[in-house]
Symmetry: C4
Subunit: 252 residues, 4 copies
């Protein structure tokens, strides 16, 4: 069996596409954000990526039909904009370090074949404490991108993330840089304790300005409210103490 | 050494065979059921599958002769039925995720070469509590199979199994779906605490109707009685408490 | 780098050689026995086996010179006997299951090239309790070998080892059987708590009769005495209790 | 993706180069020492080594620009000396045993291509207790090097390191020996509890004599002073007890 198996539904011709990635990770921030983007922009799935680097697992739909776990690429054609979009979402990241490398390398080569010159990876930055208004931290493949991103409200903060970026959100940048691709990682601050739709919204508010798309956040706000109710209950239960600032690092 | 080594005893010509898989897993339900099928139908072993994805282990018979751990395929010729049968049983599933993929992929390609168009995988669905009358839950590769299976008493229940199906029973479906093969996973409800012949019998009662075979359950009933004696003793020892419904998920 | 790297010092011509294997394992029984055989028979090292399946480690001699960890093959020419000998000893077994398979497969193919038709693997059978007079248990690749081994004092006992034989001592038999080679595993009973020279001696007393070699056991007896002193001290410290018969299984 | 990816900035022509390796390990002694050497000798980076055997991680600079984790080779041209230098430093060692082998093998073959005939690997020797004046222990690939190294103050001590040398510092010697390269491992004694600049300085004081380079130790001394302040505080907090001499072994 090939290490990575691609099942194409369609081979789209895209105009100077920008890629956006959001896979499971800290607070599921990236996955929530990218899936929201898929929903809102009515993106079209064109390829499924299966791999022995994913868990040996199928998911079962409510009707009883299975699907093998995968990463999937969607496209959005935008005839009135400068760039079409490619969005990468999925059930899992690679399970092992070498699996992460193999998958990220494959994805970046697929992106190159699609003509992608710019990639945004979305993730969460785990703070280990509850947070009211999440900032969106950035990391980039070339110095010139820092000022560009700052204009859109991205925070660049010395020493954050201290331990670097682990996982697909980082690796796509690392491999992209070697290939000469311009890449930005956007990390929404999150406690890391829960799935965090609020951090996902913060990330999307920045990204939507960059990509010049209009998004409705109703779904994310609803989810956030549910999580807020949970966390307020937890706060009540918590003993009075200094909020911890654990170095949870970042798993993107 | 090849990753997977096939040692053929015979290359049978089979008539539109249906494959049935039962490997070790939760409650050993699938393995018990498939081995019972092999015994009852006097199935003939025709190929041994050895692999570096299995444990580096030999089993020792009562007489002192060893065998390397393996998966094995049997066939049943049924001149009076529409379909011959292929039955896959074995000592272990693959140890690692990528080993699971490699083995399941190989098995599905062997099945294709044999002309298999339909596969049933058998497993247990762990509930984390003792259960009187196990249902048989189903998952399928295409929507059309749901109604067909319901007629034979298979239960399709929204949200069950919640976390999907992990291991060979799921993966064979996932890879089969990509290959365009019709596949059904039959999961007998089980506590998951013990080897569970009762759940195996429940699965076989459904499967025998589908395959139109007659089975005697004496052996399984005897085994079940032994386990029942054990569990009643445990129940006596147990403190009075709500039965737990742990989300043990499903390892097939 | 090749998965397995062979560095030959010599390519010996051997007369119908019998192979003996003893690698680290339970009680280090196999390793102790095989190394004692190398010493007593003045065996000559002819090939070093290096591999990425071993730990990334060098050993440092008393003089400060390193050697990369390895398995090594020695030969013994016996012009007056029917069979020359090949002895396999080493610092480690493969670290991973697939590494175990790759190494054992390579070793068996090397053995075939040397003309080996018969192999003895040596190991310990862990009982989880101290033992006065260790028996030597056997497992074989073909039924005909059972009676032959019984004549030399090997015990074949139904249900022992219950969980089969894990590791190189088992795997060499398993792969040897597939290749059509006659193989015997000799397991000296041991507590498994200590390095066990007494079990190694028991194994060698049987093996020396089979191979028709004379061995002096002074070194092993000295080592055994040191261990005995240790264990008597431990016995004094132990609370009075039934000796446990844990199912430690067997790691050969 | 290739297992190891080399990105060359330059292919230097070097005069009989000596290689020095210092990667993360016990007390980070080797890494500290090799990086100090790079700084002091104004070494020039000429190749970056990326690999799927490293963690899937990027590091983020203070300005927000990422770099994929790597090992890097630098050169130092010394027109007035007998030997140019190659220095290997990096963010990580290989994560898995086979990754360690693959990376070390690749590095040694790169060294051969550069004309390297002599290699020094630098590491820490963990004692599990605080130490006033660290000795520098040695291990070599051939007996002739022992006397040569003793002249420069390297200690060769029977039974140290007892468990051999694990990791890149050992493996480069092990593979180098097979290739016929002369190699020396220099291990600075360290508690192993902290990053240890004092041990790094001890190693460099020996190495600088061998390589005939002059080094300023101001930076390392400053770092050592900071660590000393930390450890004195810890000593105050510690209960009065015998210093432990744990067998921490050596991870180089």
């Amino acid at each position: 069996m090939d290490d990575v198996v691609l099942v194409y539904k369609e081979k789209p011709e895209l105009n100077a596409p920008i890629m956006v990635e959001g896979l499971p990770g800290v607070g599921n921030v990236g996955k929530l954000a990218a899936e929201h983007l898929v929903d809102q922009l009515k993106a079209v799935k064109f390829v499924e990526i299966f791999s022995k680097y994913f868990p040996p697992q199928v998911l079962v739909s409510d009707s009883g039909v299975i699907k093998l776990v995968s990463n999937d690429m969607y496209y959005v054609k935008r005839p009135d904009a400068e760039n079409d979009l490619v969005i990468l979402v999925g059930d899992y990241q690679g399970l092992t370090p070498d699996g992460q490398y193999e998958l990220s390398d494959r994805i970046m080569r697929m992106a190159q074949d699609l003509g992608v010159k710019m990639t945004f990876t979305l993730g969460g930055y785990g703070l280990g404490k509850l947070i009211e208004k999440p900032r969106v931290l950035g990391a980039v493949t070339e110095a010139g991108l820092v000022e560009e991103m700052k204009k859109h409200g991205v925070t660049f903060s010395k020493g954050e993330p201290g331990s670097g970026i682990v996982g697909a959100s980082g690796l796509l940048l690392g491999l992209g840089k070697i290939m000469g691709m311009r890449c930005v990682c956007l990390m929404g601050e999150t406690s890391g304790y829960f799935v965090d739709p609020k951090a996902a919204q913060a990330v999307l508010e920045v990204l939507s300005k960059i990509l010049k798309v209009k998004l409705d956040y109703k779904d994310l706000e609803d989810k956030a409210q549910q999580i807020d109710m949970l966390t307020s209950k937890l706060k009540e239960l918590e003993p009075q103490s200094e909020p911890r600032k654990d170095d949870l690092g970042y798993i993107g």
